[in-house]
């Protein structure tokens, strides 16, 4: 166990730090039109220097680096205000799926632009009839010559409104059990017949969408994997999803500590209240535990092991902690706590925003309950759920 950098790691860190110093300054000086423009510019800059997708091979525009180097760069980058979330789903989940299942020409066409932030990808899996139970989806694709014709509806599609492409899971055979009749495609989200309608979230934002398909034609050449073998392809995406999603997003122990120093309590500040201190310690233990768990995963990766479903614990802990810290902070602000206006609320309303966004985090990328099932079944080897739908043809299932 050595939490210090090796000499090579230290050298890499120095290079990354130096690069970030000068490039963040130049990036800021450019003055971007909006957040998206800034995100694209920063992504392109990183890609040119081999810092976008550090672990991807160089031939694909990656950094050809190690998982540890990727962590080091992430640690250094986090010190600068250049975090943009637009590319996470594409680079973390969609493009790796394309890379695993598409032909050479398709890969060459898409990997570079995605890496440079020129094109954004969405994951079109969930439907009104199938979220946790992804294989219950109903969107149909019917073969017509060299094309497939798609009809149906997706929902909760993050970023679809600003995305260019997507990976799409559809039903191609309703006469077999549900997992056996699915097929995966990639598609242009501007294809005729695709309609994207933003959904208003309880948090006030609109980051996810309904996506409707009316006679959308997708060439068979855009298929990822075999016909009716889409479940296998989807599992690759879902595995990567658990690695890609995670972080609670800002409202952690350090932030609430800051608040607690400043806020008055019955006697002294909130930070002096014994009950608060006990909770703060538990939050610290969890977030440190998570940080070090990620480091253990990286160590396993760097030894050539594949990360298992263990990474599920990250999201369970982070999302629940965000909700808990957010709520404790809001309660500590007392009557003032209901104010969400960033101009008035402490720390620019960070905790109010945590309270309103945490419910989504506990659901997106697998609910707490589903993640616990995964841990129980795939890590601990406990029996699977009773499945009455397993062998029945999809068309005979109750809606």
């Amino acid at each position: 166990m050595d939490f210090n950098d090796t000499p090579e790691e230290a050298a890499y860190r120095t290079r990354a730090r130096d690069w970030l110093e000068s490039n963040v300054a130049e990036h800021k000086a450019q003055g971007h039109a909006d957040d998206m423009a800034a995100a694209r510019a920063w992504q392109a800059r990183k890609a040119a220097a081999g810092y976008a997708q550090i672990t991807w091979p160089k031939e694909w525009g990656g950094g050809g680096g190690t998982p540890i180097q990727s962590v080091i760069f992430g640690q250094e980058e986090a010190k600068h205000p250049v975090q943009y979330g637009y590319f996470t789903i594409g680079l973390g989940m969609c493009v790796p799926t394309v890379m695993a299942f598409a032909d050479q020409a398709t890969k060459e066409r898409f990997v570079g632009p995605a890496l440079r932030g020129e094109e954004i990808w969405s994951q079109l899996f969930s439907e009104p009839a199938g979220g946790s139970d992804v294989a219950a989806i109903r969107t149909r694709a019917v073969r017509d010559g060299d094309d497939w014709v798609v009809n149906g509806q997706k929902v909760w599609t993050s970023g679809a409104h600003y995305s260019d492409y997507g990976i799409l899971l559809v039903r191609t055979n309703p006469d077999v059990p549900k997992h056996k009749g699915l097929t995966m495609f990639w598609l242009d989200l501007r294809s005729p017949g695709v309609e994207i309608r933003p959904i208003h979230q309880m948090s006030g934002g609109s980051n996810f969408n309904e996506v409707y398909f009316t006679d959308v034609r997708i060439p068979d050449a855009q298929r990822l994997g075999e016909v009716d073998a889409g479940w296998k392809v989807a599992l690759v995406t879902l595995m990567n999803e658990r690695l890609a999603v995670g972080g609670g997003g800002g409202a952690g122990p350090k932030e609430i500590l800051k608040l607690a120093r400043e806020i008055d309590a019955a006697e002294g500040t909130l930070l002096q209240e014994p009950a608060f201190r006990q909770k703060l310690a538990d939050w610290w233990v969890q977030s440190e535990g998570l940080r070090n768990t990620r480091m253990r995963t990286i160590t396993a990766l760097s030894r050539g092991q594949t990360p298992g479903p263990e990474s599920s614990i990250g999201k369970i802990i982070a999302a629940n902690q965000l909700q808990d810290i957010g709520n404790s902070a809001v309660e500590a602000e007392d009557q003032f706590g209901i104010i969400a206006d960033p101009a008035l609320a402490p720390l620019k309303g960070l905790f109010q925003s945590a309270v309103m966004n945490a419910p989504g985090l506990r659901i997106a990328g697998g609910t707490d309950e589903i993640l616990k099932n995964i841990i129980a079944e795939r890590v601990l080897g406990l029996p699977g759920e009773i499945r009455t739908d397993k062998d029945a043809a999809f068309k005979d299932l109750k809606a």
Partner: protein
């Protein structure tokens, strides 16, 4: 960066597990639990001494193996798993560590070889009554080189021949045996006593103020104890899992019911959080890093929570049989209480943790 045991350390751990599987089956633990007159398992103690474990982290010049603290952590994890009924923690994590940290050359040369060989059993005497140990709770005092006072409870105080004692103005070494009375405790697989010093000979250990010396020893012990707790928590999860797969109710194994599956998943999550924090603590201890006090507190709180949760939900998973004397879940339930309190309660450690965070932020 490397966040795992090395291959050599894994090998040591595997060997330790094999040794304990052979020499410390549950019958050995029960031998001590069921017999009020036995305070530890002497054969196991001798065996562990012969393996060199008592001196794992003691430098070779003092008769130890001169391995690092990470190796000692690996052994602790296995001892915790086995619920080993021996005074290993008192002797190694507290007394040997106190000597290595604070002892004079002469004190180290005199005592460490005897600890490494198993000749000496140690005990660390701090508490004098309910509640955390504070400057006002300590009444034990030293005049000249004579110590007077009562410590309760002192784990292994009745079998120790070397005690490190917290007095008002510092830590002292006292040679045993000392006057003691065995106590009824939550965990009879480890013994504890009320120890009385009535003008006993003593020798100053280090020249620091008592509470600060105690807390430095506690930081070191906390990391090592966290590994025992982790080993125990893992074992409790394994027991719960094995039983859940075996026990049928309503026509299928209870492991198939989500309430049980999610319970075990929750145990797993807490254990992994505890493991990750313990690893960080091991590194801080081994490297003598400035982060040790914070890392130790983090490791201790996480491990105490994990072991408590795993041990109580293990009993729950076992149903009625889990509440019987014959069933083994109680061994971990008892031990989890003993280990969580022996170096100060989790609430005390949470307080220490936040104090560290405050200081860090101020720096």
């Amino acid at each position: 960066m490397n966040f795992d045991y090395s291959d050599d350390q894994k090998m040591l751990k595997d060997e330790a597990r094999k040794f304990l599987d052979a020499k410390c089956p549950v019958t050995v633990v029960r031998g001590v639990l069921d017999d009020d007159t036995r305070h530890y398992d002497e054969a196991l103690w001798r065996g562990v001494a012969e393996q060199g474990w008592l001196g794992a982290a003691i430098p070779e010049q003092y008769g130890g193996l001169g391995l690092g603290h990470v190796e000692l952590c690996a052994l602790a994890e296995e001892l915790g798993r086995a619920v080993a009924p021996i005074p290993f923690a008192s002797t190694v994590y507290f007394v040997a560590e106190a000597l290595m940290l604070l002892g004079s050359e002469a004190q180290k040369a005199k005592w460490l070889p005897k600890i490494a060989s198993g000749e000496v059993i140690g005990a660390f005497a701090t508490s004098e009554g309910p509640g955390p140990v504070t400057s006002t709770s300590i009444r034990t005092s030293v005049v000249g080189n004579r110590i007077t006072g009562t410590k309760i409870p002192v784990t292994d105080g009745n079998i120790a021949n070397l005690l490190v004692v917290l007095a008002k103005d510092g830590l002292y070494l006292v040679e045993g045996p000392v006057e003691s009375e065995v106590l009824t405790t939550l965990d009879p697989t480890r013994s504890a006593a009320r120890v009385t010093f009535a003008d006993n000979d003593c020798e100053r250990l280090g020249d620091e103020d008592g509470l600060s010396a105690m807390s430095q020893v506690f930081d070191r012990a906390a990391v090592l104890l966290a590994f025992e707790q982790l080993g125990g928590a893992d074992r409790a999860l394994e027991m719960a899992k094995a039983y859940a797969l075996d026990r049928q109710a309503f026509g299928r194994p209870i492991a198939g019911y989500q309430a049980i599956k999610h319970k075990l998943a929750d145990i797993y999550v807490k254990n992994e959080i505890a493991r990750s924090n313990a690893y960080y603590g091991a590194w801080a201890l081994n490297a003598g890093a400035a982060e040790l006090p914070l890392a130790a507190a983090t490791a201790r709180v996480a491990a105490s929570e994990a072991y408590w949760f795993a041990s109580k939900e293990n009993i729950q998973t076992h149903g009625g049989i889990g509440f019987t004397w014959e069933a083994d879940p109680q061994l971990h339930y008892r031990r989890s209480r003993q280990l969580s309190l022996v170096a100060g309660a989790p609430s005390t450690w949470r307080e220490r943790l936040v104090t560290q965070l405050e200081q860090r932020n101020a720096a």
